[in-house]
Amino acid sequence: MINLVWLVPVLPLLGFLINGLGRRYLSKSQVGVVGSGVILAAFVISVMIFLEVRQPGFSGQVVTLFDFINVGRLQIPFAFQVDQLSALFLLIITGVGSLIHIYSTSYMHDESNEGFARYFAYLNLFVFSMLLLVLGANYVLMFIGWEGVGLCSYLLIGFWFKNASYNKAAKKAFVMNRIGDLGFLLGIFGMIAMFSSVTFSEVFSKTAALGAHSNYSSQIAIIAMLLFIGAMGKSAQIPLYTWLPDAMAGPTPVSALIHAATMVTAGIYMVARSNVLYTLAPQIQTVVAVIGLATALLAASIALVQNDIKKVLAYSTVSQLGYMFLALGVGAYTAAVFHVMTHAFFKALLFLGSGSVIHAMGGEQDIRKMGGLKKFMPTTNWTFLVGCLAIAGIPGLSGFFSKDEILAHTFEHNKIMYVLALAGALMTAFYMFRLYYITFTGSFRGTHEQEHHLHESPVAITLPLVILAILSIVGGYIGLPEVFGVKHWLAEYLSPIFAPSAPFIEAHHLEHSMEWLLMGLSSVLVIIFIFIARSKYVKYADTGRENTGLAKVLENKWYVDELYDAVIVKPLGMLSRFFQDALEKAGIDRLVNGVGRSITWGSQQARRLQNGQVGFYVFAMVIGIIVLFVIGLLL
């Protein structure tokens, strides 16, 4: 089965080709069947691969397809890595992916035939790129997927390309990703320069072998940092996070798939994959942890006051990604991957739920104009509530276990970080329930027409919601902490991946009593914050009052966009215009033309000597002869 792993990415590619080339000839149902079918098929194969990989004692396997780049000692094959980590990601991508594809068949039904096919073609292409990203057996292949998902994200954000502001958001996403990609590329080049290889197995074994020698630690740190810059771009961390909220311009299922469940977790995948590099560069790990924590807090604070349903979820995503990086930074690689998985479930659920709401509201995204949707859309309501409970970290749901694991590891690592992370978690609980209560409870605040139109969504939309809700509830049980007296299944499953860095990590475990205490503390606080949110927003009425003070700063997202605009975008434009007008036209070109012009001018001057006066010529001749005589006499 593992040798057939190439089928997993090839199937979505096939879907892309069929939908892309046949967009004029296929009907919507055909497109939907092809688009979702290939992903489902890929999911089935992924499950089979997973079943093989989860056997104890399975060690990673590399399936080489063909040589990609061979230059001297540098060999970069087109090869796929099948191991515990990639198998798990395959499951998440194809699993959540197929649910979202099914959801899209209904959600995008209002598009024209061609637009519908184009949408599915892009979505399939995205899944293909994402699968390349996680399956690649070397960093270059990962980079191929990495840029590929960036491209698909660009295409899907700008899916409604007639709208100029959507295009702008798409462009912003692509350019910011490219900034990160440059870091990633530099990291790869560093690897090539240092190890003359980019293959995972070789790089990791060579790094581990060097690990003890401190002479190389700075080089390893540089590579780790450069790779992390790539992760910052893709996973929307400070300072490259501002594209993600804008990316909500795309269709909602796209936000669920790309900007919540899969693509944005690529950075976490990459750091987890390269765990050896990071373990051996503790200073960079600290950077990762600090940036992750700062992002988590910043984004959570912005999410507190946003009124666009998708924007809240977007900032929430940024914040959760911050937690994952915090986990990576404190060396809790398993916890990070765990959170990627649970987050994929509940955030996809929340986005799809918001899509269902937006669909019912006829495209309205402002939660101030919603309210009381509970009675109109029961299924959406309860699944959304499950999602909120999961992300807030109510005991028993998936989010609780993964988030708690991150918090516990942070506590081991650094107490101040723990406090801040806990504060972030409480903010999460607050803003999620603010969102929930404003949207689903109280009275409806929209127009009558909208109210008349309100309805529960069709089954193609609710079915994925229900499945994801169930997963959000039970997904956490694969990673039950050891305090419950069971083995941490996920940690054991992933242990071969993190084995190379294990020798360099000092193992220290919390007392069980301490762990219980932390769990209790966070649970109690989260519930208190949910109740605060309830008391404030359950009977929300839109007062139309302008925010002031801190709330206004938060509403304007700490003015970061404005800052970037003033510090980077505007100066770049000015520089370009300076180059264009001053340097190019008035400088170099004038210099070049000046050479020509001075020759013309000189010729015009010389031409005056040819005045046609024979007497003058004779005179010049005589003078010339005399001069020659004088010279002849002198020499």
Binding site: G612, Q613, V614, G615, V618, F619, V622
Partner: protein, 105 residues
């Protein structure tokens, strides 16, 4: 007679010729001055030829052939030049070279 005399005479003739060409405006006078220049050179050629012949170089007489060449060319030149001047005079009733620069345009 020492050759220096011829040289000085020749230089004098040449300078007169040059000055005439440079300063006079009457085409015929300029023409005559050019003849003067040519003849200054002729004189020099003959004088040097004689000098070398006296010194025992047999082939020195050959230099005098150039004089004949120059005379022939000068005669041809006079024929053409005077014809031009006559034509110019017929057209403009003047032989002043300064009004001839009309040709320039």
């Amino acid at each position: 007679m020492p050759v220096q005399y011829y040289i000085f005479l020749s230089i004098a003739l040449f300078c007169i010729g040059i000055m005439g060409v440079l300063m006079r405006r009457n085409a015929i006078i300029i023409f005559m001055c050019i003849e003067l220049l040519l003849n200054a050179v002729n004189l020099l050629l003959v004088a040097f030829s004689k000098m070398w012949a006296d010194a025992g170089r047999i082939d020195a007489a050959a230099a005098q052939i150039f004089v004949f060449f120059i005379m022939v060319v000068a005669a041809a030149e006079v024929a053409v030049g005077l014809a031009i001047i006559v034509m110019v005079y017929r057209n403009t009733h003047s032989v002043d070279i300064n009004i001839l620069n009309r040709l320039k345009n």
